[in-house]
């Protein structure tokens, strides 16, 4: 039970933060949720559509297996603003998946509204890929 508690807290904080996302986009993908999950969560697959050089770090900020994964992004143009993106998967059917993308600015240089810095000390669940 003890190793479950941080995940619940993390999921709750993620949900609260992402309610104020600056960009929200939804996509229907013609693939089962498990397959979409692998395409996002396994680095060699992810690199093929979301390259490392667009990320602030290759490792995800937070992971809820098969449901949600968060990455930190860094803009490639000055002032190189950092943001956090959340990919959330919901099954539509056995071979269709709804992917919701939520992105918000979360730059360490910004004092207000940046609670992601506080979350960075949270244990991040390792991928069971």
């Amino acid at each position: 039970m003890s190793d479950q508690t941080p995940d619940v807290e993390l999921a709750t904080s993620v949900q609260e933060e992402m309610e104020t996302a600056d960009i929200v986009q939804k996509y229907e993908l013609e693939a089962p949720p498990e397959k979409v999950w692998r395409a996002i969560a396994i680095p060699t697959f992810r690199e093929r559509w979301l390259p490392d050089h667009d990320l602030a770090q290759a490792e995800p900020v937070a992971v809820i297996p098969n449901e949600e994964i968060l990455f930190r992004l860094r803009d490639d143009a000055p002032p190189f603003l950092e943001s956090v993106v959340q990919f959330q998967l919901q099954p539509i059917s056995s071979d269709r998946t709804l992917l919701t993308i939520r992105q918000r600015l979360a730059d360490g240089r910004l004092a207000s509204r940046d609670t992601w810095a506080a979350n960075s000390n949270e244990p991040v669940m390792m991928l069971a890929a």
Binding site: D22, Q25, V36, A77, I101, Q103, D107, L110, S112, D114
Partner: protein, 106 residues
Amino acid sequence: MVMVENDIFKALADPTRRAIFEKLADGRMNASSLRNGMDISQPAMSQHLAVLCQAKLVRQERQGRFVNYEVDPDGLALIAGWLAKYRAYWPARIDALKTLLKDMDQ
């Protein structure tokens, strides 16, 4: 300049401030003209204007004993640029993801 990015979103998250900002988008105004047609006290208006100024969305200009407020074009350009870039970025990434999904084994 970078420091204000998050303040911009926060400032516009409030419906009253968004209404004030939209009024100013039509042209510069002083605080009492801004209050016309709005159910808002003078101290509350001052506070909202202070938040908008701090976010660099609005700037103030003193003329004698009057203070006019107007939209700050620099703050707007920054935020519009960031949003426009990533709104266009994700559809392109998703096209690449769809290609990958076709290539992957089940």
